[in-house]
Amino acid sequence: MLKKSGVFLLIAIMVIISACGSNKGNNAESSAPASSASPSESASPSPSESASESPSDSPSPSKEPVTIKFLTYTANGQEETLKAMVEAFQAKNPDVTVDYEVVPYADYDTKLTTLLASGSEPDIYEVGYENFRKYAAKDLLLDLSPIIAADTTFNPGIYKKLAYDAFNYNGKQMGVTESFSDVVLYYNKDLFDAKGVKYPDASWTWKEELEAAKKLTDPKAGVWGTYAPIQFYEFYKTITQNGGGVFDANGKPTLNSKANVDALQWMIDKASKYKVSPALNDDTFNQPDADLNAFVAGKIAMVRFGIWNFGRFKDAPFKWDIALEPGNTQKAHHFFADGLVASKNTKQSEAVWRFLKFFTSDPDSVSKRIAAGWSVPAVADDAVLDAYYKQTPPESKKIVIEALDSLVLPPVGPKPEKWGELQSAVTEQLDKAKLGRVSVQKALDSAQKSVEDLLSK
């Protein structure tokens, strides 16, 4: 009896396994035509020619339908816009189906890394500048240079040069800029008016900022003059405003330079010495979005925020505007570029290139992006951006572009793959300085040593 049922089970398992096997076989067969068609397509003499072909023509044999996969994080919250942009692309390129997936930023890196590790990464994915350097260094990205050279209809001049060049790795164009953002000084005009303080302008330095902040701070009303968090990103920008930097021109770490020590001291002094910023042990400001909420509540007069926050303050019950950030010896503004890259293993490089071009620069796609307030497309044509400038508040929207004259890129350094560890090592020391456990000099000496160790390996 037992034996009989055992045999029966065995047969059942075998049936199931063979069923799975044949399923797989079917899948492989059905996907085979698509992949076998692609080599002939990419080998077609001039990709530009097929790209410029009007879609209404009767589909030629080389235009067999293909599907490209696309993974993105900035579309989180802009899914409808993304859908419209993809549909616009597919309408013009009926042979291409874009299979897109939106993953929230917090899970994006882990997801993408897992996909890359298993060799099942999408044809196109979105990366920030720091990760672009890392993936390019690991040789995971498709070098677009030959395709660009062959495409006579394409002119790199349509992009902002800085943003376009950010995706150039060792002379190879390995990605196309999609959008950029920067960080500027936001200020509450009503608070300035109430105290009769002049609005910040491009001539301001830390000295003017401090003087104004002293007048604007009102402990009784819980109003702070100025605020910037003490964390890694704020640190590398602030030291640049004082003429310092994480690395020197030769890629040697210079974390404990005099300029850096003074800049970090200034970041801490704003709270502990001059008391124009929330106290460093004020836990409220450690919570996510606390600074944004405090600005909306009219509790901060001047604060450094990314331009992606404009929408949040649309209905703020006071007048506000933006200005260039005050620097000390020079100006410096964060610059973040998001771009699209293609996997080195993609079999659809021609369709991929058509999508990259359309998505990042086609007026049809760019205008949708601007209308939805989904970051700033990195296109050079001011006429296209006009729609963006016209969206107010803030009134001084051109500051967003002016800030680019003094941009500072994330200090990825000579070993892009160590970026995560570098950031974590410096953050640990910033924490110690902020908690007052060690002097600023000592904290940065330790950070210097950690980073030196890290890069020597």
């Binding site: 037992l2 055992g6 398992i13 924490d431």
Partner: protein, 287 residues
């Protein structure tokens, strides 16, 4: 043969999802795999990763932090566990409700617990510091202060685990026959003597189980740390598993992370062996 066929589905799962990853992690721990390279591009680098586990400052700190956690966590959870077990062992009205209430944190997810406690422990607006202020104590900014963050993590972990520990101990208590206590009462034994000479020895098998399980769990502290402090501030709550996760999935150092997990395995294995050996000295088996 028939038995093997019946076992096959379970065995396949075990092989695919447990044995295979474990065996490959041994190989990975001797390599420089960065998660992004293909299998063919991996280099084997001998014992370098293992040497790094003790030389790397962050990795070393994380091991040290786990022992700090143990020192704070183990004695308190054991004593509080016995206390709650004794209290819950009474036959009073609504005792089932109290037993269930103590157990509720155990079945709540760590993520939810951590997020709620992050609010409660907020230095300015948190409930804990408000209660402390009522008795005139100015509380610290718990999770953002490197001296207090680990204390907070230990306290929250005890709060969550106490239900499990006390329910298991309660079961152990109820297993002790009333006869011993009746005999002791006849002999006029004090409450203290009854505790030390009857309850603790007869509870020792259960205590042994609880201490071993708690030890193993303590070495694997992760969820609460990742959500409440993210290993900070200044690395004060960084633990071994947190470092394994960070190295593997954020710093792309899969080989190093695998070596760290194997060191963790050896630590847990040795501690368990020591516990087994100690068992002979203090655990009393009635039957």
């Amino acid at each position: 043969m028939a038995a093997f066929v019946f076992l096959l589905p379970a065995l396949l799962g075990l092989i695919a999802f447990q044995l295979l990853p474990m065996v490959s992690s041994i190989f990975i721990s001797f390599s420089d795999w960065d998660l992004l390279s293909k299998w063919t591009q991996i280099h084997f680098i001998g014992w370098d990763n293992y040497a790094e586990v003790f030389n790397n400052e962050k990795s070393y700190t994380s091991i040290k932090n786990v022992f700090i956690f143990l020192v704070g966590y183990m004695p308190i959870i054991t004593m509080l566990g016995i206390f709650f077990a004794v209290v819950l062992n009474r036959n009073i009205r609504g005792i089932k409700f109290y037993r269930a209430a103590v157990f509720v944190p155990v079945i709540t997810s760590w993520v939810a617990v951590s997020i709620v406690w992050r609010w409660l422990l907020n230095g300015q607006s948190g409930m804990i510091n408000y209660l402390l202020s009522l008795v005139g104590i100015q509380g610290p900014i718990w999770l953002q202060d490197d001296h207090w963050a680990m204390v907070a993590i230990i306290a929250v972990t005890i709060w969550k685990d106490i239900g499990f520990v006390s329910i298991i101990l309660l079961a152990g208590l109820q297993d002790i026959s009333e006869d011993y206590y009746e005999a002791a009462n006849l002999d006029g034994a004090s409450a203290w003597n009854k505790l030390w000479r009857i309850t603790i020895p007869l509870l020792s098998p259960t205590l042994f189980f609880i201490i071993t399980i708690s030890l193993i769990n303590s070495f694997q502290v992760f969820d609460q740390v990742l959500i409440m402090t993210n290993g900070g501030p200044a690395g004060a709550t960084s633990t071994i598993v947190e470092q394994v996760y960070r190295n593997a999935f954020q710093f792309n150092k899969m080989g190093f992370a695998a070596a760290q997990s194997w060191v963790l395995f050896v630590i847990i294995f040795s501690v368990t062996m020591v516990m087994q050996w100690l068992q002979r000295r203090w655990v009393v088996y009635e039957r």
